[in-house]
């Protein structure tokens, strides 16, 4: 019966082979395009989305963009957040080419480093030495990174980038690596600006360059 029907030209049976073929082709196409789109979306997720996806991050870039001015000012300055996450700053930046400072530094210089795209690691002075050593592994010798103790922290460890802050209690917290990975050389409005050539001295009083003849 089946074989006989097949030879009747006016009523052909369903072409399962053809249907199967095009279903397969369709599925393969959808899979290929879908995977390509997913992979590029995942790899190219914007750096600020990667930052705000971290539980310990506070996003000031979205909530308070008016704080993030770039003017050069001399003398002591006050910042809305401690430690500073951006705003007007001293004309000299703190050297941020993988520098590990053993004493507090001036926010006026550090903020200029944040403008250049650096990530500033700060910790309470009573943080155990092994925790400090673990933090320093993220910083020492790494360009666009600098680290210092800070006397006025509301968390054991606080990382600052221009417009963003991460607070954690443990130097082993994986958010530290993720924050640095997303923010370093991306946060900060001055693309391509350097980290060497800055102030390498510690102390919380900003150092104004002494102009000629004054």
């Amino acid at each position: 019966m089946m074989a006989k029907n097949k030879r009747v030209p006016t009523k052909p049976p369903r072409q399962w082979g053809v249907i199967g073929l095009w279903t397969t082709v369709g599925l393969a196409t959808v899979l290929i395009i879908g995977y390509a789109a997913f992979a590029s979306w995942r790899g190219a997720r914007p750096w600020n989305d990667r930052l705000t996806g971290l539980a310990g991050v506070t996003d000031y870039a979205s909530t308070n963009p008016a704080w993030l001015t770039s003017a050069h000012k001399s003398g002591p300055l006050t910042y809305e957040v401690t430690p500073s996450v951006g705003g007007s700053h001293n004309s000299s930046w703190q050297n941020c080419a993988g520098d590990v400072y053993d004493a507090p530094i001036a926010a006026e210089h550090a903020t200029h480093s944040l403008e250049h795209g650096a990530v500033w690691v700060t910790y309470r002075p009573d943080l155990p030495a092994d925790q400090v050593a673990r933090l320093a592994e993220h910083v020492r010798g790494v360009d666009f990174m600098f680290m210092s103790p800070h006397d006025n922290l509301d968390a054991a460890i606080s990382l600052q980038a221009w417009g963003y802050r991460l607070t954690v209690d443990d130097a082993a917290d994986e958010q530290i690596r993720d924050f640095i990975g997303a923010a370093r050389m991306k946060a900060g409005p001055e693309q391509g600006a350097p980290c060497p050539g800055g102030i390498t001295a510690t102390g919380t009083t900003p150092r104004d360059l002494n102009p000629q003849g004054s």
Binding site: T29, S70, G192
Partner: protein, 203 residues
Amino acid sequence: MSETRSASPSWTVIAAAAVALAVGISIGILYPIVRAPGDTSAEAGFARSMSTHHAQAVAMAMRAYAASGDPQITAVAFDIALSQQSQIGTMQSWLRQWNLSPTSTEPAMAWMSRTGTHHGAPTRQMPGMATTQELETLNQATGTDLDRLFCDLMIRHHEGGIAMVDAVLAADPADEVRSLAEAIRKTQQAEVDALRDMRARVG
């Protein structure tokens, strides 16, 4: 014939899958090429002329960095020279990725005329550029003469750069271009303010 076709459907399926794969790969390869800014686009014009514009700022800043005795001047010169040289690298790599030449035979400002932000005939002179004579004077000057001239030339140069930035932003550029253009505008405006303060101090 129909016997052969129904006997080996797996081969047709494999062939069709191969075609689907080829189409997918082609889309993947062609999409960025089709999407890339063209030779006469505002993006390409901006990348080329801003590279040239930045190169002159680097030259002037290197002179001030090497010869000024004023630590505020040398600090800002150091920042300008290194930042702008790095940005030249960024803009040149765009042109390479877009498969475009780093140079063009068009007048330098033709792209700006097309954005409607630069009036009059296209010119080779970019806004804010120092003349050969002014560069010569800068290279001979010393002391406060050098500091004064550097501030004057760099303020004008930065303001010209901001005009070029506004022109490319008016053309609704690709994301990477918009991001750098906005960064340049913000940075150079802050530096213009700082340079004005220094210029007032030098007297």
